[in-house]
């Protein structure tokens, strides 16, 4: 466990400090984008395409404009006047803001109505007449790659087919040879369906342009306000928007999970609308718009293979993937690899050879591809390896826990360089699995299962021993449109010893106002109650790349520790001056410097802070503040072992998670209460796609799962009482030894659940099931249908 170095009153690392943001939220005093009201504000609503692929023959706004309250209708032609009808995606692809010639997916933005109330705007949407001529629709990504398939991106010069990229990693020849030489090989097609983050707050913006000052202020549901500001300045520089005059305020955000990283057309239209009308504009999505048009997650078609010796030693891994990116590559993943961090596919095991290839494909679906509480394709990769391990165990007649224990990368092998090129920082995989097995009573469960099976009852036990990779990222490998993925913190100590901390990352519920204060409390010994943390306002916060991919603690958390240490270095000089000793004669304990061997001869950090403004040494600048921009030397690699126990109703196919033990290791822990909460939430968002959630399309591109009527999210009834435990293997390269935790459980949970369900049905000949494991799918498997 994380060692406590500070008292509860100081509240440094390892203390379950109550959250500073809670008092406003529990009183209904949060300030979300839809709560922002500006004088003279108009409302925007969007006309969307009913077709997945169609030519636009005409857009007639007359009736809408004649409706009381409607102030303007904005179309692609309006934006074209300002050359704002196209924008770059964060993956350096291009995307229509509003179309002129054709629409490329159902629910694509076609026009926007600006009106004096949200009701009048909605009326206006109904009155805009759009004439379409349907075009051939390409939905199946495999068909999209066939010769003769219609080329969708006719706007892209030189684009001759629907392939976006081909990416590979590993040694193909060595892998092929290992497969040829292996005693045992297994293969499995695995599809990870399209899903949606569905944060309870949808996306929205209030855009206000002051034409006299040239100032654009945006209250926006943004997980990356600084990066968004720079993109807006780059895209709209030619119409006079200049970066110093763009201010993005990302206030309280009602959940992000990656869905608030992309720049959606609606934001850009609202900005154009405030410039055109001269009035502040509010646009907040409806849930259906959010599910149907915003960035999705997953949609990975994998063919996964594993080679092993007959004693169970895993030798080689091979995965071929078709990634459906929809209309454009807007995946919002900042690594230099098109498939993100899929190279984590070798998981927790020391393969001798591995080869992965991914082809990105255009189809007539909304763009996206990353968002869903996961660091850039890690969930897909871990699902593949953890399913393969269980299939191998089944084929060899081995216990899946024993097979994992036999193969794990041993603790002494770290830092471990994987054959796919990642350098894992630290781990103790066997320790986590052993603890999970003890906590859940693994061997008793095996006995119980045997007895139940004899009685014809369906019970399954599933394991997942995952390795995560988070903390994007080292500047050599990570950028967004050239912006490197460092992050930042700025700390000011006031004369009375109270603190203002401003960070470059942005909370959407993670509790940054509390935990970043705890980092400073740990480093400087100032009580967390005296530390105010601010973020999300580009005019005041230092430049940062935002919160997603579990990067806040690994990157901005490190910057906060480093800035604190700069302050401590200066404080030491002041203390030496005040105590009239040399710096070398001083020792530090949280909250004070004291003369070695004379603990009474001391200056507290508060006394030093006061002196920094009232009695600082001659030749030294006054004040006590510091800034750090931290470029991480490597990613961090949290890990864990999960064990899931399911009971299945053989009559209905309904899966019930009876118990779920999650052992996580995220290195040193800042706030155990918050880490626990992150794991509970991550597990629930892992269970969701495993059992319930899916967005799919018919062959004409009509969406299934486009409202909460059909998109089934877990309620308190389906969600089990998660059990958790920890091991602690600090990151050796992180200043406070932390690794990040927000997404581990979303990565680790799905294969544990699928492995449990397949285990429950294995005696019926079931070898694999695709998620989501709906009652119908499970019932069919039970009945061999």
């Amino acid at each position: 466990m994380t060692e406590l170095k500070t008292s509860a009153e100081i509240g440094g690392m390892g203390h379950s400090v109550k959250r500073k943001e809670d008092p406003r939220f529990i009183r209904g005093r949060g300030n979300y984008v839809d709560d922002v009201v500006r004088p003279g504000m108009l409302y925007m609503a969007i006309v969307r395409s009913p077709y997945a692929h169609a030519k636009i023959l005409s857009i007639n706004s007359e009736k809408a404009l004649a409706h009381p309250g409607v102030a303007a209708v904005i179309t692609g032609e309006t934006l074209k006047e300002y050359n704002l009808h196209w924008m770059p995606t964060l993956m350096s692809d291009t995307q229509m803001v509003l179309p002129i010639e054709k629409v490329m997916y159902q629910a694509q933005e076609v026009a926007a109505v600006i009106a004096t109330s949200r009701y009048a705007a909605a009326d206006g949407v109904e009155l805009v007449e759009v004439e379409y001529e349907p075009l051939e629709v390409v939905i199946d990504p495999f068909k999209a790659l066939e010769p003769g398939a219609p080329v969708l991106r006719t706007d892209k010069e030189g684009q001759k087919d629907n392939r976006i990229f081909h990416w590979e990693a590993g040694d193909k020849a060595a892998t092929d040879k290992a497969f040829k030489d292996a005693d045992v090989t297994i293969s499995q097609d695995i599809y990870i369906p399209r899903i949606h983050v569905a944060s309870i707050e949808t996306c929205g913006i209030v855009a206000e342009f002051d034409s006299v000052e040239g100032q654009l202020t945006l209250w926006m549901t943004s997980q990356a306000p600084h990066a968004h500001r720079t993109v807006f300045a780059m895209v709209a520089g030619h119409v006079g928007l200049s970066e110093e005059k763009i201010r993005i305020i990302s206030p309280d955000i009602g959940g992000g999970f990656g869905g608030k990283v992309p720049i959606y057309p609606g934001y850009v239209i609202a900005i154009a609308a405030t410039v055109v009308t001269g009035s502040p504009i509010k646009w907040v999505e409806h849930r259906r718009e959010n599910l149907q048009a915003d960035s999705f997650g997953r949609d990975y078609h994998m063919h996964a293979e594993l080679a092993a010796d007959k004693d169970g030693t895993m030798k080689a891994l091979r995965i071929k993937t078709i990634a459906d990116h929809g209309y454009t590559d807007a995946a919002t993943q900042p690594s230099k690899w098109p498939a993100g961090l899929f190279a984590i596919a070798t998981g927790s095991y020391p393969f001798e050879a591995a080869f992965c290839e991914v082809d990105g494909v255009y189809t007539n679906k909304p763009p996206g591809g990353i968002a869903y509480r996961c660091s850039f394709r890690v969930t897909e990769a871990i699902h593949a390896i953890e399913r393969l391990v269980d299939i191998l165990a089944d084929d060899l007649g081995m216990d899946p826990a024993e097979l994992r224990m036999k193969n794990f990368i041993p603790p002494e092998a770290f830092p471990y360089k994987s054959v796919l090129g990642l350098e894992y920082d630290s781990g103790n995989y066997a320790g986590a699995l052993k603890l999970a097995m003890e906590k859940i009573g693994y061997h008793d469960l095996l006995k119980e299962q045997k007895e139940k099976r004899e009685r014809g009852e369906l019970m399954g036990i599933g394991i997942s021993s995952f390795t995560e990779v988070v903390g994007a990222g080292p500047s050599k490998d990570f950028d967004i449109l050239g912006l490197k993925m460092f992050d930042s913190a700025e700390i000011r100590i006031h004369p009375t010893g109270k603190v203002l901390v401003r960070i470059g990352v942005q909370s959407q519920g993670q509790g940054h106002e509390t935990t970043f204060g705890q980092i400073v409390a740990e480093e400087l010994g100032i009580p967390v109650s005296d530390i105010k943390v601010e973020h999300g306002d580009t005019d005041t916060a230092p430049y940062g790349l935002g919160t997603y991919a579990s990067r806040s603690t690994p990157v901005a958390g490190a910057a906060t520790a480093m800035a604190s240490r700069k302050i401590r270095d200066k404080a030491k000089k002041i203390a030496a001056y005040l105590l009239e000793v040399s710096e070398d004669d001083l020792d530090w304990e949280p909250g004070k410097f004291f003369v070695k061997g004379v603990p009474d001869k001391a200056k507290t950090i508060q006394e030093i802070a006061f002196a920094a403004y009232t009695n600082h040494p001659q030749g030294m600048e006054a004040g006590l503040e510091a800034v750090s921009y931290y470029d991480p030397p490597n990613m961090t690699f949290p890990f864990g072992s999960y064990i899931c126990v399911v009971d299945i109703d053989s009559g209905t196919g309904q899966v019930k998670i009876r118990r779920f033990m999650a052992v996580d290791d995220c290195g040193n822990i800042i706030n155990p209460m918050i880490v626990e909460g992150q794991i509970h939430g991550g597990l629930t968002m892992g269970m969701a796609p495993a059992l319930m959630e899916e967005i799919s399309y018919d062959e004409e591109g009509n969406i299934y799962g486009g409202s909460f009527m059909e998109y089934l999210m877990p309620t308190a009834m389906e969600t089990p009482n998660w059990e958790t435990a920890k091991t602690c293997t600090p990151s050796p390269h992180h200043p406070i030894g932390a690794k990040g935790v927000g997404e581990s459980a979303t990565v680790g949970a799905p294969p544990a659940i699928v492995n449990a369900v397949v285990d429950a049905l294995s005696h019926l000949g079931v070898r694999h099931l695709e998620i989501p494991l709906t009652p119908e799918k499970v019932w069919r498997a039970i009945n061999g249908l």
Binding site: I26, R27, G28, Y32, Y119, A198, I200, I674, G677, M713
Partner: protein, 155 residues
């Protein structure tokens, strides 16, 4: 479009006005009264972020017309604190870490309030059923259940 007169007691205060018959109660609460603690998370009455108490019963205010609430009493999250003192449910959510982003929290607290009014000593299963009309994407519900248990023990 014509308007209709309404008179609604919200958090103990009489509110009167002229509203369009189609005005949803949630928009009246948020935009006409400026009580923005009640949130909107969907358009199909599934998420429960807009839950308020209408004449003692929890309702999703995105599916009630303002005119339907006329002559009735509404309690929102802003009315849960009395003389600056937190309601045990509010305290429970903070103590048990029953919230993260805070967006579902007001609706969750109001749904739990209605539950505890009907059943002051609910089992875990009854709590889970009682809040099953409210979606939370952050917490996984475990700590929300604990928060309601905390309040039930205090009331």
């Amino acid at each position: 479009m014509g308007t209709q007169s309404i008179s609604i007691k919200v958090n103990g205060v009489d509110q009167t006005g002229e509203v369009e018959p189609r005005l949803l109660l949630v928009h009246f609460i948020r935009e006409d009264l400026g009580l923005t603690g009640t949130h909107i998370g969907c358009d199909t009455t599934h998420c429960g972020a807009c839950t308020v108490i209408l004449d003692g019963k929890a309702v999703k205010s995105c599916t009630v017309f303002t005119v339907q609430a006329s002559g009735k009493e509404v309690l929102t999250i802003e009315g849960m604190t009395t003389n600056g003192e937190l309601h045990p449910l509010q305290a429970g959510f903070m103590e048990e870490h029953g919230l993260q982003c805070g967006f579902c929290t007001p609706g969750m607290i109001m749904a739990s309030h209605a539950l505890l009014q009907e059943n002051s000593n609910p089992t875990e299963e009854e709590i889970r059923f009682g809040i099953s009309g409210n979606l939370c994407r952050c917490t996984g519900y475990v700590n929300i259940v604990k928060a309601v248990q905390y309040a039930a023990n205090k009331i």
